[in-house]
Amino acid sequence: MKKKSAGSVAIMLLVMIYLLIPLVISIIYSVFHKWTGVIPEGFTLHNYVDLFTDSNFLASVGRSIAMSIIPIIVTIVIVLLALFVTAIYFPKLEKYVQIICMIPYTIQGVILSVSILSLYVGSSSILSNRLVMLMGAYCIVILPYIYQGIRNGMRAVNMPTLIEAAEMLGASKIYAFFRVVVPNILSAIIVSSLLAVGIIFGDYVLIRNLAGTSAPNMQIFLYQTMKSDSTKASAVFVVIMFVTFVITAIVLFMKSREAKGKTHRK
């Protein structure tokens, strides 16, 4: 038994090392002047000082965060309402909703961005705004992940029975849904949101094609920096990883605090 656990610890360590190598190398590369031999030379933090004093970079970080949060919130609300209506009133339509929500899996970023541009670029409505286009495109891209997560969560809590129970106690269906069902699928919502954050943070194609350089996010900034200074680009990469890590940590901390609260009230 002991042997087995030692083996699994070793495998875990190997996987961790494998996954962390690119990040560690990038960190080392970003804090030295040059790394042409075995040992890097000339320790310096000037890349980071430059980045955090560069208003363009800070704006790109803010844009990236905003561009990920807004589409996620919009998609979650739309999926929640769509699944509520189909599960309670039109269960037969659920398979069609599923098909529609799964279609974006198959659409490549280039095709999606070109299609959106050809449809809306000449429009006189708000849809011709490049940022609105981009947010809309992100909503489409993350739709399958959010849908799948929320649907699995709803199935796990047996939503129709919970709503029926709440109805018998005098609640309306919609009140029961938001007061009883949604708090119980919060974990599923959080997990799919994190997945969506990862997808949006990793996007380059959509933002490059739809927003161009008018609203550069961290990826665009990284791409532009790579052309001029590779050590600074490593620093940008490290900051991107750090921001993703912080967002994930905050969400998981909130989740664990909620779970702790439950245990403490025992």
Partner: protein, 335 residues
Amino acid sequence: MSYIRFENIVKSFGSNTVLKDINLEVEKGQLVTLLGPSGCGKSTLLRCLSGLETVTSGKVYLDDRDITDVNPKDRDIGMVFQQYSLFPNMDVAQNVAFGLKMKKVPNAEIDKRVKEMVDIVGLSDHLHHYPSELSGGQQQRAALARAMVTNPKVLLLDEPLSAIDALLRHSLQVEIRRIQQELNMTAIFVTHDQDEAMVMSDVIHLMYNGKIEQSAAPTEMYTEPVSKFAATFIGHYNMVPVDAFKKMTGVDGEGTDVAFRPEVIDISTKPVEREGCVTIKGHVGVSLPHGNVLRYAVMCGDHQIDVDVLFKKATIIPNGTDVYLTLKQDDCIFL
């Protein structure tokens, strides 16, 4: 006028008619059981009363009010579900308080009533436990408290004990009956377990294939089944075709089958002559203990007749022994 009335209720799901012209009445303060095998329509009938299912045709009345088209939340009916359906994100107190909050009862009153009700169901020590921290029995008690705390006009229990182990189920049967009588609450209980129905009910409505097969008090239902289905579903009746019974005993009657219960038969290794009784000869096929009762499977020609006797080790008749079964003609029901 009865407190609850179902008038000509028909319920169809597509081409499948689940309830076929049901007429049923329930008096105030009674605990009535809808008993029947799976798929007979008992839960659907209950859901038609709760409003969770709409009727295809017919009327439902509660306390002289037509509630056929009333929204479930406005019917003032409490319901306990098979799978408890407690809200996982709320502790016992919050679950029980939910219905009172929906009725906008003042907070102080809510606290008082929640404590009272939780006390009645014996969960005072678990007031702030979450459903995941409770056993099946405790969850069902919490669900019961949640359904009763609003003092509904009628309490519906949809197979609430079927997911609970036998020992706990028996104690909860007694408990639910006690609470229902203590609060003088009108309740409709759905089950497929005839023993449960016998223990708990004032009246049993036996359902079969979307219809009420028989409505009677438990003792009457047990001793006077009106059909072959009622006889086989309630208790454990021996069913022998009339022709075969005539060959065995010389007694004839109207109907296709003769039904008699295993415990009304006397078994002995010598023939017994008694007035008003018939005797059947056979041999013991096998004997199996059923708690305090020993059940002999006696082979009489091509037919097996079960005989129940109180279990006494000293008097066990070995398998293969020739035996004589004696039973009163009055105990034989021709169906």
